[in-house]
């Protein structure tokens, strides 16, 4: 179970789901289009500067 929990946490972190959850908690917002649009504009800055290795 612990392995599956860690795997799920890993995937949620890689796919930015946890980051969105943290954003909602920090800003006191629920999951909706508006909050996601705000999250994207904040996270987008980091995402587009992130290098992907060869």
């Amino acid at each position: 179970m612990s392995f599956l929990r860690t795997l799920r946490a890993m995937l949620r972190e890689i796919f930015d789901e946890s980051a969105y959850e943290r954003f909602c908690a920090r800003e006191g917002l629920g999951p909706c289009r508006e909050s996601y649009a705000r999250f994207l504009s904040e996270a987008g800055w980091h995402k587009e500067r992130k290098v992907r290795c060869c």
Binding site: H46, K47, C53
Partner: protein, 677 residues
């Protein structure tokens, strides 16, 4: 575990590893099972991790569990965040694993399976993993600073400038070579072009779905995208069998190159949520799944390797790329053994997530070992092919001839029998018109992977689907590298130009975005075009240039690492980074010398330019060769400068003439409790 039991366990692993290594190194004239390669790799990596990385952690770097990391001190819930070590491991692995560890080993298989395998094992344990590990720690101790910033702080202005120059150069050459691999894999292939082309609307659809319909549900959206991609593979078969539709997707190399250049420009200028982010998610989803599937497939099927341990091409006359085993095998396999590019990831997002210094060992050293295992799988995928088939796919028409009969005659003449009928049947079984002259490594890897998969799941009937799945898988993350790389390159140019004229540095200004996008796309587009027009297939030209640039960046990273170690008064352990540094300098400088001055026209840029000029050849081709020689020379001079500057620092500190002050963030005791950690 009791010490005696532990001793028996590690002694057993060492013994098994020795037997596996002896089997792959000493067998001559008979085929061996791929599991020997996998066993040798797993045992070597386990020993490397258990003993060498522990030595580095405890004796050399003195990792301190009491020292607060920037993730704790600067926690902001965004980029700085203490994160579970396994989560950071997955995050870091997903960022460092790209097409490199798949393509490099496939190309290097022209020397046989032995040189590439040994270089991956030794290079990773003593070079690549060490580089990733130390740079990650040094970035953590400097609040997550980038390699260029660390180089500037620790070595000086020259260090910073050279690191910047190396990064931008490698980025341009990397993007060109990535694009060339896709071009060579998709030319005259309506099925492949349709499938890969469809990933663009699928990514756009995912972007809209994620923003409008199911905000934040990235895993669900990626799974949906994956199903659509599978449908696109299926649709590609239908499209290729429909002459009217197939005609639209049957493109020549120059047509594909233009399409990719236009795509690269669009991807750089479009909003990040619309194309880049969803494609990145989709690519990661497919990547993690397929790598796991390939590993399972190899272990379950344990196929036989048909490639000999060494081929006659160690003498430098290889058709895939020209050049002797030394130094060319060591620049052909970069990612998988040691890759300078990883130092950018290790000093990027990852250091901001590390919870404790002691976890850096697993993330930095461990994730690189996992990537090296992927490189071993790629070696297996290439070497399960009959050597004749491997060379027929990977040899350019300029070497073996345009017609199937000429190509098979040439390759059979080298001692690797292959028949035109057999190649035609293989092409038909994977849904292609021909598999001759598909240079670049991706098609050979796809055929090998399809061979392994089809033997375990579905049989020969689904070989074509597996082939196009493998092709799509590679093209998907090559295009992701292209998207992300073009954008990062654009930002780097904007940052640099901003120092000259402020408005150009505004990353949100549309004229600036367009101008800098044109600059970066034109730069890699030029090299791509050069590769496409190259009569020898382009890979012979661009892959060594990419390898040299990547390894020179690793040289910069190791210079920085050695300087910091000496400043930390750990000079007696400096060999940990100095030994791979000396090896890389020897390899890259020798390879660069050959690429510039070698009298063979297949190796030396200047020799080829001279021959073309004497024969009254194409003026642009002559210019391109001279330009490549200049680019290589500039890279070498830049790295020589940072080497000289670093050596001055080392000697000054050791002689007591210089202050050995590291530019670390101040020590703060961690407040993370054991429970939270």
């Amino acid at each position: 575990m009791k010490p005696a039991l532990r001793f028996v366990l590690w002694f057993g692993i060492a013994l098994l590893g020795t037997v596996a290594l002896a089997t792959i190194a000493l067998h001559r004239g008979e085929q061996i099972n791929a599991l020997w390669l996998v066993t040798a790799a797993i045992c070597t990596f386990a020993l490397g991790y258990r003993f060498y990385s522990k030595f580095i952690a405890t004796k050399v770097l003195l990792l301190d569990p009491q020292r607060a990391t920037p993730a704790e001190r600067l926690e902001n819930g965004r980029d700085f965040l203490p994160t579970n070590k396994w989560v950071v491991f997955g995050h870091h692995f997903a960022a460092i694993a790209g097409p490199g560890p798949l393509v490099g080993p496939v190309l290097a298989a022209q020397f046989g399976y032995l040189p590439g395998t040994l270089w991956i094992l030794v290079g990773a344990v003593f070079g690549g993993c060490v580089q990733d590990f130390v740079i990650l720690l040094f970035s953590v101790r400097r609040d997550g600073k980038s390699l260029t910033e660390i180089a500037k702080d620790e070595i000086g202005r020259v260090g910073g400038l050279v690191a910047y120059g190396s990064v931008i150069s490698i980025l341009i050459i990397l993007l060109a070579v990535c694009a060339l691999i896709v071009v060579n894999a998709l030319k005259q292939s309506p099925w492949g072009t349709f499938t890969v082309g469809m990933t663009i609307p699928i990514a756009l659809l995912m972007g809209v779905y994620l923003r409008r319909l199911r905000p934040g549900r990235v895993l669900e959206t990626s799974a949906l995208g994956f199903v659509l991609v599978l449908a696109a593979i299926w649709g590609g078969q239908w499209a290729s069998q429909n002459p009217a539709i197939a005609a639209h997707f049957t493109l020549t190399a120059p047509q594909l190159a233009i399409a990719i250049i236009v795509y690269g420009f669009a991807a750089s200028a479009l909003p990040v949520w619309l194309l880049l982010a969803p494609r990145d998610y989709l690519s990661t989803f497919v990547k993690l799944g397929t790598i796991a599937l390939l590993t399972l497939g190899i272990v379950i099927m344990h196929p036989t390797l048909h490639m000999p341990p060494l081929t006659r091409f160690i003498d430098g006359t290889g058709p895939v790329f020209a050049g002797k085993l030394f130094p060319f095998a060591f620049i052909t396999i970069a990612c998988g053994a040691i890759s300078g590019f990883h130092s950018l990831i290790s000093s990027g997002t990852t250091p901001k997530l590390i919870r404790r210094e002691t976890e850096i060992r697993m993330v930095g050293y461990g994730a690189m070992l996992a990537e090296s295992l992927v490189a071993i799988m790629a070696t297996v995928a290439a070497c399960v092919l009959e050597p004749g088939t491997y060379f027929a796919i990977n040899s350019p028409a300029g070497i073996v001839g345009q017609l199937p009969e000429a190509a098979t005659r040439t390759i059979t003449g080298w001692g690797f029998p292959v028949f035109a009928d057999g190649m035609q049947a293989l092409a038909r079984s994977v849904g292609e018109q021909t598999l001759f002259n598909r240079t670049g490594g991706a098609p050979a890897f796809a055929v090998g992977m399809a061979h392994i998969f089809s033997n375990s799941l579905g049989g020969q009937a689904v070989m074509a689907l597996w082939y196009h799945f493998a092709l799509m898988f590679e093209a998907l993350f090559i295009l992701t590298v292209l998207d992300a790389g073009t954008r990062v390159g654009r930002f780097m140019i904007q940052d640099a130009l901003g120092h000259l004229w402020k408005p150009l540095g505004k990353t949100s200004s549309y004229p600036s975005i367009l101008a800098t996008s044109v600059l970066i796309v034109a730069a890699w587009g030029y090299f791509l075009w050069q590769g496409v027009r190259d009569p020898l297939g382009g890979i012979n030209l661009l892959w060594p240039l990419f390898g040299i640039a990547n390894q020179l960046l690793a040289t910069v990273a190791l210079c920085v690492a050695t300087t910091i170690l000496i400043k930390m008064h750990r000079a007696k352990y400096a060999l940990v980074t100095l030994a791979p540094l000396v090896w890389l300098v020897t390899v890259t400088f020798t390879a660069s010398w050959h690429k510039i001055f070698d009298p063979s026209v297949r190796i030396g840029f200047l020799a080829q330019a001279r021959q073309l000029a004497m024969a009254g050849g194409n003026a642009r081709l002559i210019f391109s060769n001279r330009l490549d020689a200049v680019v290589t020379a500039v890279l070498v001079v830049m790295v020589a400068l940072i080497l000289i500057e670093s050596a001055r620092q080392w000697l000054g500190i050791l002689a007591g003439n210089r202050d050995a002050k590291v530019q670390e963030s101040p020590f703060v005791v961690t407040r993370l409790t054991e429970e939270r950690a």
